[in-house]
């Protein structure tokens, strides 16, 4: 009989008291309130640890690094007590054949019961040779492991949208995972996602035995239903019309709004301004740099991170809405002036000819 999560935690020297504290912290971070804590506690007391397979495609490992920054729950508790992280090439002890054997064992023994977490994405260009761990294209491994997964979580913007390697011209044809597998995918975008957002999503699935409520694009509503701008502590300065106009100016030191420095907070759905980063220490805007929109689809290709108006690729690399619009308006104005001039000349001529006729 597999021990339950609670049993394992207790066995590992965690007191009932800290277990309950963990439950209420988790409940709070999930926005579930006091009743939620009891439910979590109950769930964790009665379920065995869920096997997790964590695959890496084209990526930079920032998601893993973020994950181990989690403060509640601690990554060590999560990995040792809440989940059974049976395959993750970044931290596992085994390598080579032994590592691959661990993977096969997990997906066979826990068929239909394991969670697949994917960091990075498969490149589809040139038969997938741009990512060939184990000598074979990553996309094949991804499809094989996804086939019998109970749930699939896409970590970060790579797995969710494509991220930096998929920025134009996407030389390797890096492709978000939902386009190559059939499973429903929980997208947890960000470059990387916030640690507590990552562990919050996993804990939710493990605790309640179902996927969290998702928005139309597959992101958990509990973390991605509001823009950073909506909850930004600098929002009053936005409404007041008080902006940082240049780096390190008076406004920057006062903590004015970074809108004019290209901040993408108004168009970015993420929990940075609420959960914040690294146990709530700060978030990009809080440390003086605008949001670069790293949890949004295609954020690399919207022009400079420091521009307010973004590029419109349909009109060439350099065009933004105001340039296109002003050009069209000027051309139209000139055309109108020219047309009016021709009209006036024609009228004058016809008036003359009329006069002649009358004479």
């Amino acid at each position: 009989m597999t021990p339950t999560f609670y049993e394992v935690m207790r066995q590992q020297g965690i007191t009932r008291r800290s277990f309950l504290k963990f439950c209420s912290l988790t409940a709070a971070s999930l926005g579930l309130g006091a009743g939620g804590a009891t439910k979590i506690a109950h769930a964790l007391e009665t379920k065995p640890r869920v096997p997790v397979v964590w695959l890496h495609g084209l990526e930079c490992t920032c998601c893993t690094e973020s994950f181990i920054r989690s403060a509640h729950p601690l990554a060590s508790d999560l990995v040792l007590s809440m989940l059974s992280l049976d395959y993750d090439d970044t931290i596992m002890a085994a390598a080579g054949h032994q590592a691959e054997a661990a993977l096969e064992d997990t997906i066979t023994r826990y068929k239909g019961k394991y969670i697949l977490a994917v960091e990075g994405n498969p490149p589809l260009g040139d038969d997938g040779v741009f990512c060939i761990p184990g000598g074979r294209p990553f996309v094949d491994k991804l499809r094989r492991v996804a086939k019998d997964a109970a749930a699939v979580v896409a970590w970060g913007s790579c797995a969710s949208w494509g991220c930096v390697q998929a920025a134009r011209p996407n030389p390797t044809k890096a492709t978000p995972i939902h386009q190559v597998i059939d499973n429903p995918v929980v997208k947890v975008p960000g470059c990387p996602p916030i640690a507590e957002v990552m562990t919050g999503v996993v804990t939710y699935i493990v605790t309640f035995g179902r996927l969290p409520e998702l928005d139309r694009q597959g992101r958990p509503k509990m973390f991605y239903s509001q823009r950073i701008h909506d909850k930004c502590y600098r929002r009053p300065h936005f409404d007041a019309g008080q902006f940082v106009e240049a780096w390190d100016d008076r406004g920057a030191r006062e903590g004015y709004c970074l809108y004019k420095m290209g901040c993408k907070g108004p168009t970015t759905y993420n929990a940075c301004s609420t959960v914040r980063w690294n146990e709530g220490v700060s978030f990009p805007i809080g440390s003086g740099h605008g949001c670069i929109g790293c949890s949004e689809d295609g954020f690399w290709d919207k022009g400079s991170f420091y521009d307010r108006l973004t590029n419109i690729k349909e009109f060439g690399i350099e065009a933004n809405a105001d340039r296109v619009g002003a050009t069209v308006a000027i051309v139209a104005g000139a055309a109108v002036a020219a047309h009016a001039a021709v009209t006036a000349i024609k009228r004058a001529r016809s008036a003359k000819s009329n006069e002649k006729v009358e004479k």
């Binding site: 920032c62 040139d126 741009f130 470059c191 440390s287 740099h289």
Partner: protein, 594 residues
């Protein structure tokens, strides 16, 4: 393949071929293939980078001020190093001078990364090569406590602490769900630690995992998040104003000070004593894994004490190269000299017009071409053995004056040691004395791992130094953190080029940029793992990884613990180095960002 003699090594691929892919506990995807002779001694080693993301291609035509964000995403483990190299490259090209405070804050953030990254590498990526988790079940908690207390004043060392830890471990193992410890090489004859030392190390593995997230909060304070904090061409984004709630103020500075104190304590009381204790059981490893470390090492230098000055007068960690093992003469390094640093591709999956020649990164070309040699076993999409006589890695082959070079903590320590810098020389001499081994012991797997530990402690103390400097500046009324004179592209020259250096935790990193009409015209990176993991060159000279594996005896070739030990001692970062595919061969992938 015939037997090849190079650099004092005899490469013979006639014996049994062992493939280790994936190499785990690294960043990115790496494949190692070795041949062993009848006595299971490695006679041929092939390192292959198995991924390529093509960032060089993606960067073309972009705003140079955005480049730091793109290149930062090359690697999320040594997060920020590419950003530093990138902003330095752009500033060098345009001629931007950053304020003193910006220099100090960058140094502080960078030293923070050194402390955290080295700590995580030692405990979470490297320790399981030396520590047998299962053996810890047989430890006596009392003797473990005595051992811990005999080597350090670290307070978490009571009998009860280790008894609880052991019972937690026991239940974990008995649950049958071993998670990341599943299929480890437990019981392998290569593990030499007594059960008590194993138990102590596991306790610190968990403590370090919890503590490392504290260290990076310094990056969060100045950069807004970690991993991937924010940077700025011309300075740093976080303003300083003691009298404002919207900037770096006393509360923020206090948090920085507190974390620095805790970091120094953890590294000096946990990491360093553990390192020395474990090393004392593995002195054998002072004989193996040296590779070319005793011959050729390279460091670009780091931590400029004077803003905008990258001479050795300013660099707290010096720049220089050692060639042919001549420690008496440290060679100068010029990143802009078109003949010094060059990249070759005869064994990499890229195409040059003339592959017998190398290209300086200013003129670098990155055009992928995936072809396998005729001796490859398997197919294009199912490679069993690579053919190292042909192209076999996504990593390019960088050379310094035509020579392969090792980079990283050991290289930095060797260069600084040769220059007689006391901050580096004295700790090295202390460790050699403590372990009772001679200087050449440094050029080994053990030496590499020890240098990283010493450097981690050095960096932690430098955090304090930079913090004190920042406070002194603020006291003197210096608050500027950004120079915006050349922020607007219209103030830039129509064409310019620059280089950005950085010593990443893993070694020398360079970014070379050409800017034309305010857009990136060409961008190339040569990253530490390119130097270390790169494949052979046209003269069959082998790089650091391949050389380091040579002549190492393996106890059980099917459980390649020895390969992991040496490769991990380099702390590979393949996302950085990758232009890759994974065939079998001896080369590792280099990453190039153009």
């Amino acid at each position: 393949m015939a037997v090849i003699e190079t650099q004092g090594f005899r490469l013979d691929n006639s014996g049994r071929r062992i493939v280790v892919d994936p190499i785990t506990r690294i960043e990115g995807h790496l494949r190692i293939e070795v041949n062993v002779d009848a006595k299971n001694v490695i006679t041929n080693a092939v390192s292959t980078g198995t991924m390529w993301r093509g960032l060089e291609v993606i960067l073309k035509g972009r705003d140079p001020r955005d480049a730091w964000a793109f290149t930062e995403r090359i690697c999320g483990v040594c997060t920020g190093v590419h950003a530093i190299a990138s902003v330095r490259a752009v500033e060098d090209a345009i001629g931007i001078k950053i304020p003193d405070n910006a220099n100090i804050i960058r140094n502080l953030m960078h030293a923070t990364l050194y402390a955290q990254d080295h700590l995580v590498h030692f405990y979470h990526l490297h320790a399981l090569d030396w520590v047998d988790v299962v053996s810890a079940l047989n430890a006596d908690p009392r003797r473990t406590s005595e051992l811990a207390q005999s080597i350090s004043a670290w307070p978490h060392s009571s009998i009860g602490y280790y008894r609880d830890l052991q019972s937690r471990l026991k239940r974990f193992v008995e649950s049958g769900q071993l998670g990341p410890f599943k299929n480890g090489y437990w019981g392998h004859p290569g593990y030499k630690l007594p059960p008590e030392a194993n138990l102590m190390a596991i306790g610190h593995y968990l403590e370090a995992l919890d503590f490392q997230r504290e260290i990076v909060k310094i990056q969060t304070i100045f950069g807004g998040k970690n991993p991937h904090p924010n940077w700025l061409v011309g300075g740093v984004p976080s303003p300083i104003d003691l009298d404002s709630p919207g900037a770096i103020n006393m509360e923020r500075l206090n948090m920085v000070a507190r974390i620095i104190g805790e970091t120094i304590a953890f590294i000096d009381q946990v990491y360093i004593p553990d390192l020395l204790a474990i090393a004392s059981f593995y002195k054998d490893w002072a004989k193996w894994g040296g590779g070319i470390a005793s011959q050729n090492v390279l460091a670009y230098g780091e931590f400029p004490d004077i803003a905008n000055d990258d001479s050795n007068k300013s660099l707290l960690m010096p720049r220089g190269a050692i060639l042919n093992g001549n420690l008496k003469e440290v060679q100068p390094v010029d990143l802009k000299d078109m003949n010094e640093i060059q990249e070759f591709v005869p064994h990499s999956w890229y195409k040059y017009a003339d592959e017998s020649k190398g290209l300086h990164p200013f003129d670098g070309v990155t055009e992928p071409e995936f072809v396998l040699g005729k001796n490859t076993k398997g197919t294009r999409t199912n490679i069993e053995n690579v053919d190292e006589s042909a192209k076999y890695s996504w990593v390019k082959t960088p050379r310094f004056r035509g020579q392969p070079m090792e980079v990283g903590p050991l290289a930095r320590y060797v260069v600084a040691y040769a220059m007689g810098r006391p901050e580096f020389k004295e700790p090295v001499d202390m460790v050699l004395k403590k372990l009772d081994v001679p200087l050449p012991a440094l050029f080994s797997t053990l030496g590499r791992t020890a240098a990283r530990g010493l450097e981690c402690s050095w960096a932690a103390h430098k955090m304090k130094y930079f913090y004190d400097k920042l406070i002194a500046n603020i006291k003197a009324g210096q608050l500027a953190t950004a120079n915006v004179d050349n922020w607007e592209p219209r103030t830039w020259p129509a064409e310019c080029k620059g280089v950005g250096y950085c010593e990443a935790p893993r070694g020398a990193l360079g970014h070379w940029i050409r800017i034309k009409n305010a857009k990136i015209d060409n961008y190339q990176c040569i990253v530490p793992t390119t130097w270390n993991a790169g494949p052979r060159d046209g003269k069959s000279q082998i790089g650091p990884y391949e050389a380091a594996l040579m002549n190492t005896p393996m106890a059980k070739p099917d459980e390649p613990l020895e390969v992991l030990r040496t490769i991990h001692s380099f702390d590979p970062c393949l996302a950085c180095a990758t232009h890759v595919i994974s065939p079998e061969g001896k080369r590792i992938a280099t990453v190039q960002v153009r």
